[in-house]
Symmetry: C2
Subunit: 426 residues, 2 copies
């Protein structure tokens, strides 16, 4: 299947940021709108793209596309003022069969695009969860076909998502309209052709017309990027609320790897401080725990996730935890028996991760998804760090090690029992 | 596809162990021959089985099959002395279409069965790597069809593996033969029908006729069960050579889980001894490292592998390593700086496993297979334990911790660099 992406508009409502570049090259949550489309569509198996632009932006679009491995043909609409359907008309001779038509100023997530590609005609959404109702294009869909469409129609039952799966026969209708009228919009074409409707209600999509939309899109993408599973209580209650704000501020300036390294450095510095003054070290350690969420959020929201990044981050986390506990131990300078407790606490802390990660390697699935009860056993990293901070602030360092040694290793024991229960025969 | 398993012979050459049970119920490397067939064939998608036996063994076979979830029909051949083709003749009315015919006194591995099921006619092997040439049935295959077959033929180019993929039309030929002669063997049927040949040369199969065959089969299955990848130098040079002997001795008496627990107990006891007398502790620790191979060998050779077992074993290993190092630390009763080294050595030891296991969870592949260089970096568990034993025997415990702290953590660093190199863009 080919995909046609329309990017011939001037994006006037986004001035001044579209003053010298097309809307499709605006970065939203760390990645350009156009590149988002190309990447997600390509992941869903689409390999041939046509981008329609205007003569003013042609060079910029071409230069931008050169940096990426996608197979894209750039087509210039010489008269974009004749409406967005005139841009579609420009690709007439290049379409082989069924194709996807996408408005470049929309954002979709991969679930939306996966579902939309299975559809036919105009992809519509009944819920419009992320839609500005005033501004949106409404659709009246009757018996599976478009009866009416427009911003100001009276009767409607769903929203136009800006995504279409069309056959080449659409060009006959389009040709007729183009001959009759000076300007033709896609919505007129849709109505004239009585296009079929496919519902993908409730999935994530939105269009980006104004600065407000842009802000909202960034926020929504970052919120969606917060991992649901595996987060401990403290992550959900405290860390994620702060980390998403940091991500919002830094997503266009920081790569995920840079965020990983910053969080690691803050963790190591917190250990250095704990050698001398544990309460301040504990605070810094908790800060590093908050920052530890930022790399993943940036990566997921900007579609820049990497397996190496996830793996590397988890190894650095283990070393930060280790160095902090070692620093506290050295600060304590305790008797022999206490060193046994310190070692046990350190071992337990690593083993909490080891037991769940090793599970993924063996069973090929996320333990927090398969064994839901795992989510309610205390001892996850965010919870441990928060507890460590509290105890260092209170000056209870010996007690901290004793509790940590017990809780972490009991958690590993509970994990073993649960895995035996759920998977013992596997 | 249905599978017909012939088990109507009296196994006279295996007296006395077949004195009161059919050959197919003899355990080889911890699992009965018949159950091996059912399990592997079922894993390859076969769901319907017919087992042909004689009236003497019928009850035993039925009682045995009752314990397993496979769908098996038991058919009795009232006259097994009429040759093994007469057993096939008994299932005539029960065959729907193409079916697999298997001699129950053979052993195949899953790769063999996977390939054989894709074939047609008689499955033959040119190499006969595991075959007793004197005793084997030879086949002369010309232009893809059987020209001659028998134990004592002069010209032959491959061996009969005892595995056939047949169509229902074979019964016409068989009926004719059964009317002509008193006894009919499968080999006569194969020759008369001029069966097609499918080559699966070099794969693992053998037949079990004598006590010598039985011994050899057990040894071969256990040798095959030694994991090739991920083993360190000491495993390959020392541990595996001893562990397979232990496995050979115990495979019919021990479950994999019992072997895991014994190895764990020996490890924990070695820590207890190291608290008082490290050299003896070190020796015991090395013994536990050898025993650590036995559970996996028993599991793989007896087709009783379990993901829970693999996961559980790896967690126990981490705790054994930890408890041994802790015991040595307590024995040393060292100054503050040394505790930092002990912690670092303990951490490094866990992280060697963590970094490779976490890789499997993230990338879904075995790091030792994808990044071959990983096999040559020292610091794997078997190597560490062997080194620890040597150092405790020599009394160099401080030096041991220093070297361990450096080597293990350098290994983790090397792993990071290699993964970055090979997978950094993934």
């Amino acid at each position: 299947m080919q995909a046609v992406i329309l990017s011939a508009g001037y994006g006037r409502r986004l001035y001044p940021i579209t003053d010298n570049k097309p809307k499709s090259l605006i970065k939203v949550a760390g990645k350009e709108l156009l590149l988002r489309h190309l990447q997600i569509l390509n992941e869903q198996g689409i390999e041939e793209f046509i981008v329609v632009t205007n003569s003013m932006y042609e060079k910029q679009i071409r230069n931008f596309l050169r940096k990426f491995p996608y197979k894209v043909e750039v087509v210039v609409n010489p008269e974009p003022e004749r409406g967005n359907a005139s841009s579609l008309y420009c690709v007439k001779g290049k379409i082989k069969d069924t194709f996807a038509l996408i408005m470049s100023d929309h954002i979709y997530d991969s679930v939306f695009i996966e579902e939309a590609l299975k559809g036919k005609g105009i992809i519509v959404d009944e819920l419009g969860r992320f839609v500005d109702i005033e501004e949106s294009t409404k659709v009246l869909c009757v018996s599976g076909r478009v009866e009416d469409i427009g911003k100001d129609i009276d009767k409607w039952n769903c929203y136009d998502t800006g995504f279409f799966i069309l056959d080449a026969d659409i060009f006959e209708t389009l040709e007729r309209l183009m001959e009759e009228k000076r300007t033709v919009e896609i919505s007129e074409l849709v109505k004239e052709h009585k296009l079929e409707c496919t519902h993908v209600s409730g999935l994530f999509w939105m269009d980006v017309d104004t600065m407000t939309d842009l802000e909202r899109a960034r926020k929504l993408l970052i919120e969606k990027s917060v991992k649901g599973t595996g987060d401990g209580l403290i992550s959900r209650l405290i860390n994620r609320r702060i980390s998403v704000k940091i991500t919002e501020a830094l997503i266009d300036r920081l790569t995920p790897m840079q965020a990983t390294l910053i969080s690691f450095l803050v963790g190591i510095i917190s250990s250095g401080i704990a050698l001398i003054f544990p309460p301040l070290g504990g605070l810094m350690y908790q800060l590093s725990s908050i920052l530890d969420g930022v790399d993943g959020e940036i990566a997921r929201a900007s579609l820049n996730t990497s397996k190496f990044g996830g793996w590397f981050d988890s190894i650095l986390d283990r070393y930060v935890d280790f160095s902090f506990l070692l620093a506290l131990g050295i600060y304590l300078s305790p008797p022999l028996w206490m060193w046994a407790v310190i070692l046990l606490a350190t071992m337990g802390s690593v083993m909490v991760s080891y037991s769940t990660e090793r599970y993924k390697g063996e069973f090929g699935e996320n333990i927090y998804k398969t064994i839901k009860l795992m989510n309610y056993i205390p001892g996850k990293r965010d919870e441990r760090i928060f507890f460590i901070m509290i105890m260092t602030l209170l000056g209870y360092i010996e007690e901290l090690f004793i509790i940590l040694a017990i809780v972490t290793n009991l958690r590993v024991l509970a994990t073993i029992l649960l895995v035996k229960l759920y998977k013992g025969t596997g």
